[in-house]
Structures are given as C-alpha cells and as structure tokens.
C-alpha cells in the first residue's frame, strides 16, 4: 500500500566514540550562527588536554541528527584559513621549547607532530612527516605537469543539500601530539 508523499527523509546516525573522539555535528539550517552545543566555549569545540597529558580530548556533545541536509552557511568576513579556537586549558603546564612526537601510523603514511611551547602554552603545532616515504611514482614526479588554476579558498554563503569533507579520524595525529605534549609537561 502506497502512502503518497512528496518527500521522505530520515537519517540514521552511527555514533562511534573512540578514544575520546566525538563525531562532528551537522550544520543546522535554521540558524544564521552555528548551533555549536559546547558548554565550554561559544567559539567552537575546544581541545582539552587531559591532566595526564597523554590524550587530547575533543569535547563535543553527541552529534545532531540533521532534519534536512541544507545548512545555511553565512558569509565570512575573516580571511582564510579561518578562525582561531580557544587555547587549551591547563595553561602554563608546559615547559617552553619544541617537542617532537613519535611518528604515528595513519593508514596513508606516517604522521609526526612537532609542538612549540611558548610562555607555557602551545604556540604552534606542525606536521613534520607527511605523507609516507613511498619511493614509487617516479612517473608522477618526472612528468612535466600543466599549470593548474589556483585560488584562495573563500567561505561560501550558498545553501547546499550536503557537504563533502574529510572524516578521517586522524588517530595518528592525536597519538603523535600526545607524545609531544607528554615530553613538554613541566
């Protein structure tokens, strides 16, 4: 028996919380500003460094199920790349210097994090080793490549039906970061 309906939509969310991660939330199309449900800060999810210094935890509540995959994206006045996030808590617990985490394995290669601490706070986090040291693809490197068009990315204010973005967990990033921070603890 058919129930006539113009459109039927539902989404099903697999939620996996793994080693302190939480899945990111979908954008809510009913608000101009983003409904970021994080009690810690209105500016966005914050990175909290746990007291043990071994796991960087992303605090974000359980993800919203979108009523409709059409987020409203406000135009951004800030230049790309985008806005800062709050500094991690427990400021001043790190000794100034530059620390390198171990090379943690992401399935596409190794990820190694270098942390710079200044004034007792994390001043910079950089990737040192990426991607893997695969020695193949001489063909790719030797070919004379055409010049491809480039542009500075800019926030778009259009309504869309969905968003494509990377969802890699980057456990390797967190592991390497944690090992660098463990060295930096005072």
């Amino acid at each position: 028996m058919n129930i006539p309906m113009k459109k039927f939509f539902a989404s099903f969310v697999f939620v996996v919380v793994f080693a302190g991660y939480a899945l990111s939330h979908y954008l809510d199309n009913s608000s101009a500003a983003y409904a970021v449900q994080n009690a810690a800060s209105p500016a966005g999810p914050s990175v909290q460094i746990a007291d043990t210094g071994t796991v960087a935890q992303i605090t974000s509540p359980t993800p919203l199920s979108p009523a409709q995959p059409s987020p409203a994206v406000p135009a951004s006045a800030t230049p790309m790349p985008a806005a800062p996030a709050p500094v991690p808590q427990n400021q001043g617990q790190y000794v100034d210097g530059t620390y390198t985490g171990f090379a943690a394995n992401a399935y596409y290669g190794n990820v190694q994090i270098q942390v710079t601490v200044s004034g007792g706070k994390i001043a910079d986090v950089a990737f040192l080793q990426y991607p893997s040291d695969r020695s193949t693809s001489r063909y790719i490197n030797d070919q004379a490549m055409p010049i491809l068009k480039s542009e500075a990315i800019q926030a778009q204010s259009a309504q869309v039906d969905g968003v494509s973005g990377a969802s890699d967990t980057s456990a390797a990033f967190q592991q390497s970061l944690a090992s660098a921070l463990a060295q930096a603890k005072s």
Binding site: D124, T136, Q156, G162, F173
Partner: protein
C-alpha cells in the same frame, strides 16, 4: 565504518521501507568492516583468526579491489599499514555508498542522495526538482564551505587530515595547524571510484591533484595548508548549474 550515514529519497515513490533497506545494508557493512567492532570480520582477520580461504565473499571482493587500487595508484593506495594491520575503510566507504545507490535504483528510485562520512553519491534531482548542490567543507573550519559543486550524478569524495572538531591555535598568533595538504576533493564516475582515488591521491601530497589531472573522467580540488586551492582543468564545469 563508524560514521554518520544520510539517505534522502526525493522520488514520489519514496518509502520508509526503501530507507530501512538502505540503512540495513550500511549496518551490514559496519558489522563486517568496522575496525571499531571487536567481532567484525576485519577485526577477526587482524587478529589472525581467519584464513583468506575463509573470508566472506564481500571481504574477498574488497581485498581484490584494494589490490587493483594499489596497482592503479602505484602503491599509494594501500589497506595494509606498515605494522601489518589491515584497514580497508579507505575503499569500503565509497564501495558501500555505491552499492547503496545501486540498491535504491533496484528499488525503483531515481532521485536520491546517499552519504557516509563526507562521501556522497547523488542521482537525479533534489526535492525541489533542482540539481543536487554539494558544498566542499573548509578543512580549517568545519562550519564553512568553500566551494559549491553540482556533481550531476557523479560521485564525490574528500580525503584529508581532518581532526574532528579540533583546532589547535595560539589565540595571539591565530595561526592554524600547518599541514602539507589539508584536503583533496575528487569527482569521479561514481563514489567508489572517487573515494579510492581521493584516498590514494591525498597520500601523494602536493602531487595529488596532478595525479587526478592525468586521470580521465576525474576532477579534483586540492586545498593546501595555507588555504590555497588548486583544481584540475575540468573541475570548473561542476561549479555551476547548467540548467535544463
């Protein structure tokens, strides 16, 4: 798989039954291939509890597809880590979405949207009768999109180093994490193809977009660590609605 799945059917014939069948399929994929589930087949394989001759049909298929992908990408696509752990999620995601799309077609649907973990396959038109419009996420700010594309039935997948929900900055310098490449979005014949080549090309660093450029039927949009995007020659055709 362990990631959010979204399905929308915009046909008049859309039904809860079709949606449930689609979600059932994703639940099945999760049971078999999720590295987060201790009793999944892939977890058992990683614990050496199964011989290759005992692999399920779909598992064997994934292994075969992974081998082919590795060959096509000169080794950049590899489901085996240097430590010997097998993680096929770089190919399972696109493969599963592609199968879900086929399932929906077999159920008689022509207008739909299927997404898992940022990879998307659309067909036909949205509920407003217009081309499906997809945003490319800003890899530095998940609240924003930086490009709008109209895949027109092609598959779209994005690979990148996205640390979920976290940005690490000093608020005084306001500098983001410096990365080699932040993301690579690939539009390909279907989402399975787009996914495996996005996965492989992202591992090539700055040469990823060049690899996509020399592939027929694939277009790419690569964003580097400083927020500069490079696109393949045919990419811009997807950035506007051609109209009917």
């Amino acid at each position: 798989m362990g990631m959010p799945v979204s399905v929308e059917i915009s046909d008049a014939s859309a039904s809860r039954e079709s949606l449930e069948k689609t979600f059932d399929y994703f639940r099945y994929v999760d049971r078999v291939f999720s590295t987060y589930k201790k009793d999944s087949e892939i977890s058992r394989i990683n614990r050496k509890e199964l011989q290759p001759s005992e692999y399920s049909t779909d598992m064997q298929l994934i292994f075969d597809l992974a081998e082919e992908s590795k060959r096509l990408t000169e080794g950049y696509f590899d489901i085996r880590t240097p430590e010997g752990i097998i993680d096929p999620s770089g190919i399972v995601k696109g493969w599963a979405i592609n199968n879900a799309a086929e399932l929906l077609r077999s159920l008689g649907h022509q207008n739909f949207y299927v997404e898992a973990g940022g990879d998307i396959q659309t067909s036909g038109k949205n509920a407003d009768g217009k081309e499906w419009r997809i945003g490319i996420r800003n890899p530095f700010n998940r609240q924003q999109i930086v490009k709008v594309v109209y895949p027109r039935g092609k598959g779209i997948a994005t690979s990148g180093i996205a640390v979920r929900g976290s940005h690490i900055y000093d608020p005084h310098t306001e500098r983001p994490v410096e990365v080699s490449m932040a993301s690579l979005t690939v539009i390909g014949p279907n989402v399975y193809e787009a996914d495996r080549f996005a996965t492989a090309a992202f591992a090539m660093g700055e040469n990823g977009v060049n690899f996509i450029e020399q592939l027929e039927e694939f277009e790419g949009y690569q964003i580097d660590g400083k927020g500069t995007a490079i696109m393949t020659h045919g990419f811009e055709q997807y950035t506007y609605d051609q109209g009917d």
